[in-house]
């Protein structure tokens, strides 16, 4: 099994450790884990992100995981994904976790996965107190669940930019986020992995959560023709 985690910030830095623990001590041991991020950890990230040292996020987390879970085969790709690098990052049959902070990357990755024969894409995102997780499963060239854009025009036609397209000023602008919202998104993404990949259950492919209401709702989505 090959797993790719794109984005190692608020959600991804939490998710990768939980996932690595599960993979190390389950039947899925021997899994290859690829961590992808072009950004670097800074002191200001300690508020929400799990890391031990400064440096490129993919490289720092890969080193952390190797130390913590010696049996894992972890590698890093220290760059942002874009149309050029996607093919280097995602291969046929991969399981992809997307923990990014912009819809343009979600759109690019989802559209790329639509051209693969077999792939599982689990994408999570949150605002301050709520968010969602989407599960896109494609098998033998057929969509088993809808891609990320099908029910989300804001992803299909994003009004934001890729990280590498943003100016220093734009990058410096941070939208307030809450660690617990990131944690909830990461937890639901782990649940999505267990159901979609381990149990092969695909009925519910979008999950919404709200930490102030202390609720989550899983929805069934029909594949559009």
């Amino acid at each position: 099994m090959n797993i790719v985690i794109i984005g190692l910030g608020g959600i991804g830095s939490i998710l990768c450790e939980r996932l690595a623990r599960y993979l190390t001590y389950s039947a899925e041991r021997g899994t290859n884990l690829l961590l992808v991020d072009g950004d670097s950890y800074e002191a200001k990230n300690f508020e929400r992100q799990d890391f031990t040292t400064m440096g490129n996020k993919a490289e720092v987390k890969a080193a952390d995981l190797k130390m913590q879970f010696s049996g894992m085969n972890v590698s890093s790709f220290p760059a942002f994904v874009n149309e050029t690098t996607l093919a280097q990052v995602i291969k046929e049959g991969d399981i992809v976790f997307m923990c990014v902070d912009n819809h343009k990357t979600r759109m690019l990755v989802s559209n790329y996965c639509r051209n693969l024969t077999n792939v599982t894409l689990i994408s999570g995102g949150n605002d301050l107190i709520d968010g969602n997780v989407q599960i896109y499963v494609r098998k033998q060239g057929t969509d088993i669940t809808p891609d990320l854009c099908s029910y989300h025009p804001e992803i299909a036609n994003p009004d934001d930019k890729l990280p590498e397209e943003m100016s220093c000023e734009e990058l410096a602008q941070s939208v307030p986020q809450l660690y617990f919202a990131n944690l909830t998104a990461a937890t639901i993404m782990c649940q999505a992995f267990y159901n979609a990949v381990v149990k092969e259950q695909y009925e519910k492919s979008e999950i919404y959560f709200d930490i102030t209401k202390m609720t989550s709702i899983a929805q069934t989505r029909i594949v559009k023709n």
């Binding site: 819809h103 709520d130 986020q177 609720t215 929805q219």
Partner: protein
């Protein structure tokens, strides 16, 4: 068919209202209190845009006509829970938006009207698409018993 403003109805005597409710063919209200009779008349024959109906949809956009028909039903069923059970609708439909959900007496109502009314309750986005039983529908779709209505909530954006 005549339409009534709440203020006009409130100016009538209970006796006049009981006569009117019979004339309008609304059964079961001849012995009910004045407010209940007015709610029942407004539910079926209320005027679109009357000030009292606009007050129900807080912060609704000015260009969207305020609700009328549905609002009295909601008032009776939700904001006046003390009413007798027979005065409430028994058919409720699961309505959700994001992680917010509830069962509401909206069978027979249009999706657009329900979205407008529940905008604040469920935090429904003004541009949100309605989905019934997993399929996208337009605002004129009339809800049936057993339907499951979801207003699509935009995806969370951050996480990095």
């Amino acid at each position: 068919m005549a339409r009534y403003k709440r203020e006009t109805l409130e100016g009538k005597t209970v006796k006049d209202l009981r006569t009117l409710v019979v004339k309008l063919g609304i059964p079961g209200y001849t012995k009910r209190p004045k407010d209940t009779i007015i709610d029942a008349i407004m539910a079926k024959y209320g005027v679109v845009g009357s000030p009292s109906s606009a007050a129900i949809v807080k912060d609704g956009p000015a260009q969207v006509p305020p609700l009328t028909g549905i609002e009295a039903t909601f008032q009776s069923s939700i904001t006046k829970p003390s009413l007798q059970k027979r005065d409430r609708l028994s058919t409720t439909i699961q309505v959700s938006c994001g992680a917010s959900a509830g069962r509401f007496p909206v069978a027979g109502q249009k999706v657009a009207v329900v979205g407008e009314f529940l905008r604040e309750v469920l935090n429904v986005d003004k541009l949100s698409t309605g989905m019934v039983n997993g399929k996208e529908v337009d605002g004129d779709y009339i809800l049936k018993a057993g339907d499951n209505l979801e207003f699509l909530k935009p995806a969370g954006k951050k996480g990095c």
